[in-house]
C-alpha cells in the first residue's frame, strides 16, 4: 500500500474521516433508545460517544498536518461536510444502523490502521487508542451483521465504503472484506462522478436539522438567554 493516502493531501483525508466519525456518532446516538434490545441501546450510546471523541481527536490533528482545510463555507453549506452519503440522513431502519456499524465503521477503522502505520507522526501517536475502542464497535457490528445477513442497506454501505477508500483503494478494500470475513459484493461504481474532497459519487448533503445542530443552532432553541434566566431561591 502506498504510504500517502489517495485523493489529495492527508489533511483532506483526515478531515473527511473526522466528519464521517462525527456524523456516525450522531447517528448512533439517535438510536440509543430505539434499537431492538436494551443492551444494544447502551452500546449505541457508548459507540456514539466514542466516535464523537474520535472526531475531535482527528480534527485536532489537522493543525499539525499543514494547512487546515476547513473554510468558512462550513458555516453555510451542508455540502462542505465531507461525510459519506449514508450519514446524510437519520436512519429509519435498524438494518441501516447495522450496515453502518458493520461496514462503514470498520472501513473507517481500516483507514485509521493505515494512517497509524503511515509516515505522519501525529497520526502514528494519536490514533492508537481509537483502534482499541473500535474493537468493540467491530464485534458489535459483525455480530449483528451475521445475525441479519446481507441487505440492501449493507450493499449500499459497502459501496459507499469503497467509494470513500477511493479509486486506488484496492488494498483497503481487501482488508475490509478480510475483517468482515465476507466477499465484497459486486459493485458498479462510476468513478467519473467521484468527488475527491468528499470521497463520494452522490450529490446531496446532511439534513438541515443535523447541519444546524453541528453549528450549535439547534441547541440555542432550547437554551436560556441571560435576560430570561429565572431567579433562583
Amino acid at each position: 500500500m502506498s504510504k500517502r493516502p489517495v485523493g489529495g493531501p492527508v489533511s483532506d483525508l483526515v478531515l473527511s474521516l473526522a466528519d464521517c466519525k462525527q456524523l456516525l456518532g450522531l447517528r448512533y446516538a439517535e438510536w440509543c433508545s430505539a434499537t431492538p434490545t436494551l443492551e444494544a441501546d447502551i452500546a449505541a450510546a457508548a459507540m456514539g460517544l466514542d466516535d464523537l471523541g474520535h472526531s475531535r481527536v482527528l480534527a485536532g490533528c489537522l493543525s499539525e498536518l499543514g494547512e487546515d482545510p476547513r473554510g468558512p463555507e462550513r458555516e453555510s453549506d451542508p455540502a462542505a461536510y465531507r461525510n459519506v452519503a449514508f450519514l446524510d440522513d437519520t436512519w429509519t431502519e435498524w438494518e441501516q444502523f447495522v450496515a453502518a456499524n458493520a461496514i462503514l465503521d470498520t472501513a473507517f477503522t481500516v483507514m485509521i490502521e493505515s494512517l497509524a502505520e503511515g509516515e505522519f507522526e501525529v497520526l502514528r501517536t494519536r490514533l492508537r487508542k481509537m483502534l482499541a475502542e473500535e474493537r468493540y464497535h467491530f464485534l458489535h457490528g459483525r455480530s449483528w451483521l451475521n445475525e441479519m445477513g446481507m441487505s440492501e442497506a449493507v450493499e449500499q454501505a459497502w459501496r459507499e465504503a469503497v467509494e470513500w477508500f477511493g479509486p486506488d483503494g484496492g488494498e483497503l478494500r481487501k482488508r475490509l472484506a478480510g475483517k468482515l470475513e465476507r466477499p465484497e459484493p459486486k459493485l458498479k461504481i462510476d468513478w467519473s462522478k467521484w468527488d475527491p474532497i468528499r470521497r463520494r459519487t452522490k450529490s446531496g448533503a446532511i439534513d438541515k436539522h443535523t447541519f444546524d445542530m453541528l453549528r450549535g443552532l439547534e441547541e440555542q432553541r432550547y437554551g436560556i438567554t441571560g435576560a430570561e434566566t429565572p431567579a433562583r431561591g
Partner: protein
Amino acid sequence: MTMTRVHRSVREYDVFARKARVDPLHHVGRVVAPDDDLAQAYARATYDEERWVEMVIVPREAVITVTAPGDE
C-alpha cells in the same frame, strides 16, 4: 424476554473486572447476548463506570457450582 424475540437464542454471561493489577477480579454484573462477540461489546458498554485494567466474561453455563446458598 424481549431478547429471545430478537435473537434466535441467547446466553447469559457473568462479567468480572478489576481496577488495578493488584486487585482480584470481582463480579460486576451480567449480560445477555447471542454470541461471545456481542457479549464482549455489551459488557464493555454496560459496565464502563470505572477505568478497568481487565474485564472478562464467562458464559453462565460454564460455571460449576461447588456450594450454594442453603447448602449445609
